[in-house]
Symmetry: C2
Subunit: 142 residues, 2 copies
């Protein structure tokens, strides 16, 4: 058998509509940004609103401090990743949004999609990441 | 009841030993790096070797091209994130490695921990991310 036999999973690109549908079905994503010491990744709960994701974090926590300190001209370049993989079948998918993230004002918080964070306590720093690109891949058997 | 009632999950920091133990039990992580257009995140299969993670990707694929083009002075700043969350109980954990990633030579590939990628086909570009920092958090009920 060749190395790439037909029962091995293959990666296929997902179109934007499918990416947004998968994104809408999730509850935890990962924000990636540069905090001044290189790339970092933080899991957050989120909600989808149009082509944006809204996420919340602790106002006093590292994510907020680092994101705020990275904000220049109102926003910081960031990526937002959601995936689901099945260990048993070696199948799954991932979706990636890339764009600018910016903190929400009190007025904006009241208007946007509401996010329900799993952790208790203060989660009063809200951000919106507006997607300038949306890509995704599915790993499935042929 | 106050907003932070005692049955809401709380976030606690994990020590390095616990982070490395959780990391060793996983098979899929997410590499974050700047590809010149901002932060990006790519899921990969991996293996752990000491304080490093080894991951593989397609030699002709975007991850390899972008990682290689981002390499300066032999390495690129990157982060590697692994997590597991339970939707039903709103509990879980995440571990983050930060450090430099560099491509492995043929000689190095033969010597390092072997990674078994789920996707079929060419996965002949290998990288090592050596952790300069290891942090993690657990979300659990009090």
């Amino acid at each position: 058998m060749a190395a790439n036999s037909s029962d091995e999973p293959v990666l296929e690109e997902l179109d934007r509509a499918e990416c947004m549908k998968l994104l809408a079905g999730g509850t935890i994503g990962r924000v990636a940004f540069d905090d001044g010491e290189g790339p970092t990744v933080v899991p957050v709960n989120y909600a989808v609103e149009g082509d944006s994701v809204i996420f919340r974090t602790s106002a006093s926590g590292r994510l907020n401090r680092n994101l705020l300190s990275a904000v220049t001209g109102g926003e910081v370049r960031a990526a937002f990743e959601v995936d689901r993989f099945e260990e048993a079948h070696h199948e799954g998918w991932s979706v990636l949004l890339r764009g600018g993230a910016h903190p929400l004002s009190e007025a904006e918080k009241a208007e946007v999609a509401q996010v329900r964070p799993w952790p208790g306590g203060d989660r009063e720093a809200w951000f919106r990441l507006a997607a300038s690109s949306v890509t995704g891949r599915r790993l499935r058997r042929g």
